[in-house]
Symmetry: C2
Subunit: 345 residues, 2 copies
């Protein structure tokens, strides 16, 4: 296929990690990415070149461009961990070659050539050839959130207790998990920051939805925990809210941190609970999960495609922003609650 020599992209301004961590919200694009024109990258032996159809924006992308994510930035390279598009070129290996012409969901965490660009490079093994029944909006958001949802719900199921707790309940990820939970008779207890998010989350499968901003939040939290005895806490927030939840949870509870939306100090309120109540604090990272549980990646991908195809899952779209308008429009769109923002090259 005809591939130009240059392309437009949103390029990283910073290098490595930041020394001054800031809040998780994206106040503006300019300090972190700038539009530019660079050479279209050439895929390596095991890689493919993808003409990007739609790129998604995840909380991990925002953390990454700010230099607050687990991977270091490379100044001048395109940002963007995930997208959907058509494979237009490949390395010499048979599997990458076999993908040419196919529509794929892709992740760029390993190749480090981001999706916020007209073309992106990804390892062929982290491309998912899509069924025609999967929409572009679902394909562009198929890896980071859906696989994380399936992997973290797997942890809940292994623990055995029907009830579990999630912060940032209105996120796409939590909605996906709530849906999985409802199907299998589990009881998610979720926290949100706006009353208007409550009815939708209850409909999606949450057993209890607690507004953390209300005066009786802590009393209600303790009542619900006493009644439901949740042992798994999937936490995207940290800070004082998460500390209070973990403190109120019963013996043998596990606080599993996968996000850091609140930059405030995170305190272990009663370290004695670690000793005498056998409570634990750990983390979850999809890359680590895929490394440790290689055999579970394939089935999880199939499960995600089926769910998006038959409508059990569907990505809520807040906005699809053209690449040329991304610098000006993305921060305001991201600030809206509930849905996902995409960049269209």
């Amino acid at each position: 296929m005809d591939v130009p020599s240059e392309m437009k992209a949103l390029l990283l301004v910073g290098d490595g990690y930041t020394r001054m961590p800031s809040a998780s919200a994206l106040e503006a694009m300019e300090p972190y990415v700038q539009p530019g024109v660079i050479a279209v990258p050439v895929p390596g032996q095991s890689q493919v070149l993808i003409k990007v159809g739609l790129a998604s924006i995840n909380p991990s992308d925002v953390a990454f461009i700010k230099g607050q994510y687990g991977q270091p930035r490379v100044k001048g390279q395109p940002a963007g961990f995930e997208g959907v598009g058509t494979v237009v070129a490949s390395g010499d290996e048979p599997y990458p070659k076999s993908l040419i012409g196919k529509r794929v969901a892709f992740a760029t965490g390993v190749s480090n050539w981001g999706s916020w660009a007209e073309y992106a490079v990804a390892e062929a093994v982290v491309c998912i050839p899509l069924l025609d029944t999967v929409r572009d909006e679902d394909g562009a958001a198929m890896i980071v959130n859906p696989l994380t949802a399936l992997a973290m719900f797997d942890i809940v199921k292994q623990e055995g207790e029907k009830a579990f707790i999630m912060t940032a309940g209105a996120s796409q990820l939590c909605k996906l998990i709530a849906g999985l939970a409802r199907e299998e008779g589990y009881r998610p207890i979720v926290t949100v920051r706006r009353d208007e998010q409550i009815p939708l989350l209850k409909e999606m499968g949450a057993a209890h939805v607690l507004n953390e901003k209300t005066a009786d939040f802590k009393a209600t939290l303790r009542e619900v925990i006493k009644a439901e005895q949740p042992r798994i806490f999937l936490d995207a927030v940290t800070g004082p809210l998460a500390s209070a939840i973990f403190d109120a949870m019963p013996k043998r509870s596990r606080w599993i941190v996968y996000g850091r939306l609140d930059p405030d100090t995170t305190v272990i309120r009663e370290p004695g609970q670690l000793i005498f109540q056998h409570k634990r604090i750990e983390g979850f990272w999809l890359s680590e999960w895929m490394r440790q549980f290689r055999d579970r990646r394939g089935p999880a991908i199939m499960e995600a495609q089926k769910r998006f195809s038959d409508g059990r899952w569907s990505t809520d779209v807040t906005a699809v922003v053209p690449l040329a308008e991304a610098m000006a429009k993305v921060p305001a769109e991201l600030a809206k609650p509930n849905g996902k923002v995409f960049i269209k090259p």
Copy 2:
């Protein structure tokens, strides 16, 4: 044997748990225990009555009498988790009966009839008949510290890294672990609060001894961690010292809390390390370990007796205080560094 109907004991003043946690040091006995005369307890079916020869004072005893330990206090019962003595009566079961007349090390965590008394009740299964070669001072301190040392060093060995970190390095427990580590070629990195503790700990097996009160402590700590790559952190302290140590440790490190000597706030400095570096925070409690690993209890007890018999282990004695003088003398003796304080009924 001739057992009187009444006995002298140090009796718990408080009930349940405290609402106002205080420092780990024992500033005075009066707020927590009072001398008294009560009926000699009658052992249940599976229990024995022991004429106490010597009772030990562990940090867990101090936490317990203050209402800051994992078990609730029962007002008016004797304190004391551990001791040595002679079995003078028993319940009807064969095993307790078989112990009559024997000198045993015993623990009272299950029976809740403490050792700071002329007579104590213990479950027969938590009595250890002692070899004649084991001194009373070692028998009275055989369970809490030695078994904890063997159990926690087992965690270090399973992890595989030769280097590991311990706070409160001058404690009896850490000295026991340092000795085990030296024998098997492991490299403990320990923190202390006085320079004069350094030479002894180095001699006992510590690879590095760091004084946490010195100005260059944090720089030295980072250097040592970089060179040794310890992954296990056995922590008796919590608070800012422990937070700083965990923060400086490498990927996949485990912060294992078994004590709470510093009542100051305990912060997770970088929750992102839990996610991206797979670091974890958990606790250790001997009772929990014995519950989970029943098969390892017997061999650990044999190992402890052998070590005390052949002199590889020996309990440092700060003072043996007569029961009648305990109220006045124990706090000052406990404040002395390095050794163990006993009560002699």
